[in-house]
């Protein structure tokens, strides 16, 4: 009787062990993953799996933890890396240095808040154009609009003519990156044919085609980037251009604020 019990326990344990091993194999072998994953000469031998914890079998008995037997290659030696060749980028603030104080005339308000936004990409890849002026500056996913790659712009209708003193932009600050060819224009009409004023241009090589700008590009941070407009800038429509960024070719906006005083 005892032998029978012992045999059945062994049988259950073996079956359970095979089931676990089978599950492990399925989990390890991704159907989308080629079998020759380590084409770079890296060999990884997997005898058993551990997640750092003891694993329980269906029968409730504990499996002994075994060290994963991996045969790992040494890191391949490499030569001197090339710095990211991104010209015309202003250095970030030194550690501990305070953000420069932004000054605007008394009575200035964010004229762009909740105002309608249009774009030469009417169907954004991710998000909605309303996000540009919704007042939400979060850098987390789901709080920005992606208007695709290439030369792209967003345009804000302030609803009235105004004296404009500065524009604050958050493209994307989830990681350190710089947007290329950031250009800001102000005009009286939505087609940008009347009283067009270029207030900011960081296109150092005229790759966007609106002329060479004297401004420096900058690395995105949660503080955004405030751009002072030249004295006397007036208009109703603000158009912001860009052409990809240092991480990818996409153009993003989290928030745009336009500071000014309406002309009565």
């Amino acid at each position: 009787m005892k032998n029978k019990k012992l045999l059945s326990m062994i049988a259950i344990t073996l079956v359970a062990g095979m089931m676990i091993a089978g599950c492990g194999d399925k989990g390890d072998q991704n159907p989308n993953e080629p079998k020759d994953q380590d084409g770079g000469g890296n060999k990884v031998q997997t005898n058993t799996t551990t997640g750092g914890d003891t694993t329980k079998t269906p029968t409730g008995s504990k499996l002994k933890k075994v060290v994963l037997d991996l045969v790992l290659p040494k890191a391949m030696f490499k030569g001197t890396p090339v710095p990211m060749n991104e010209p015309n980028i202003a250095p970030g603030r030194a550690k501990g240095q305070e953000r420069a104080v932004i000054k605007v005339p008394e009575g200035s308000v964010n004229l762009a808040l909740k105002k309608p936004v249009t774009s030469n990409e009417p169907l954004p890849v991710v998000g909605d154009l309303e996000m540009v002026t919704d007042g939400d500056k979060s850098g987390e996913d789901g709080h920005n609009v992606d208007i695709g790659f290439g030369k792209k712009w967003v345009q804000i209708d302030l609803g009235l003519n105004a004296n404009i003193y500065g524009v604050s932009v958050w493209h994307y600050h989830g990681q350190a990156r710089a947007y290329r060819d950031v250009i800001i224009e102000v005009a009286d009409d939505e087609d940008f044919t009347q009283n067009v004023q270029m207030v900011y241009n960081s296109d150092h090589d005229n790759s966007y085609g609106k002329g060479i700008g004297e401004e420096m590009g900058y690395v995105e941070t949660n503080e955004g980037h405030y751009m002072y407009c030249p004295k006397g800038t007036k208009g109703r429509y603000v158009r912001l251009h860009s052409q990809g960024n240092t991480s990818n070719d996409q153009n993003h906006y989290i928030e745009v604020e336009v500071y000014g005083i309406p002309i009565k």
């Binding site: 994953q37 990884v44 001197t80 250095p91």
Partner: protein, 543 residues
Amino acid sequence: MKHPVISVGVLILILAGASAFRLAHLDNRPMHTDEAVHGIKFGDLLENGKYTYDPHEYHGPALNYLTVPVARLGDAQNLTRTSEVHLRLVPAIFGIMLIAGLWLVRDAIGRAAMLCAAAITAVSPAMVFYSRYYIQEMLLVFFTFLAIAALWRSAQRESKARIAWLVIAGLCVGLMHATKETCIIAFFSMSIAGLGAAILSLRSGNGWTRRKMTSLAVSGSLVLGVGAVISVVLFSSLFSNLGGIADSITTYFHYFDQAGGQGSTGDHSYPWYHYLRIILWWQVGDGSLWTEAVVVVLAIVGMIAALCGKGCGKASIPFVRFLCIYTVVMTVVYSVISYKTPWCLLGFFHGMILLAGVGAAAGLRIAKKAPLKALVAVVLVGAAGHLAWQGWRANFPQCADPGNPYVYAHPTHDVPELARLVGEIANVHDDKRDMYVQIICADNHPWPFPWYLRDFTRVDWNGRVSPGPLAPVIIYRPDLSAKVNDTLTIKMLQSSPYDWLRPETKDGEKSRDWELRPYAPLHVRVDRNLLKKYNASRPRVDK
């Protein structure tokens, strides 16, 4: 500085300052890729006695072999116990000896010039920065200078140990060859300069005679013979790899190709004036301004003094003219070569510093009246102070700042911080330093992490996702190909949950990515249970 005791005293003071500058906080800057690669290669030599010269990368064996005694004396018996300080002590020592070695040319350029050159070398941002950088450049500059100085000493009539100086020069020539392939630029420049200075001397009938030149040619065979022996010993890995001897010659075919600018990991091409721009005026955006233009200005004064033969005091005009031609040729050759990395400028910049010493001394001599002399002295001290201030900025607060002209594709401070965190997480993992870690980079270029994780036994350095279970700690570049990214995502979904590990931020700061280098973000995922265990192990901070 007519009295030698005063000169010695001042030189010792300068050496003390230079040592403090070069030795303080040697581990304050994250390891550059090149430093990390040399460090791991040195580890193989230290632990296994293995070194094999690679004619395509990583330069000569001198740095590796010369690090062994420093590590041994520093009680670093293996790679894990070897620190950044052990490694960087080697160039730091040679950077200090470069200044001490100026004593050998005190009669060639004059004592005042020698002390001025010593002071400039001591505080120059470039010279200090690369004296704290575990690459070959400072060693090459030292051996080149010592070769010139030893040849000078051997050429002195009163020299009682002429043969010994020639042997030292030979040692230096061999070590130059065994340090870096660019030694041929120095050999070429020295040859042209020697020839030019000799012609000028023969014309003026002053200084070096035909007999002396003939004697020098005969001595050359001794120098080259000793140099060849040293070179063969080192390139053959102490006769264990005889192929290394041939490789040390054939390597030049490879480096001539690379001179076009294309390195093994990308394009290092820059315009001809790039080095001069770094030295004269370097400013990124509205960041800090960097300039060592005063060295160039004083060097030009020194050149004019040497060519006119005025203001040089008791200095040897032929020797100073040799320095002029040598420096100009070096500057031209390095500028013409498209492949440029900022440390390569040290070779000709040291020549400029020696000439700047001559120029500074000439300025003091030419100013006859006391008030004018005092004014020149004040200007020189002010210039040295400005260099020292920049040297401090370059090597301490801005040691890894991309705006620093000598910082090139440098890892950020995130890298050692992330390595420290991974180490702390491993401490709470059952496997400790045997904990499995995956580093996935699209270009399979995880450096300098192999240095920082050198005490981890199971790290998967890969450009793809290895088969088998995921590691509890995964560090990867977000620019992975869509295929690799999908594989990683699916595997993470199938595994136990992972959480993000992000750099710690101060109150009010948004979370951000880790950065390997500027604009090269890193993502880090940690097994949730492990991260919880780690967070629970951390001491609570009462707010």
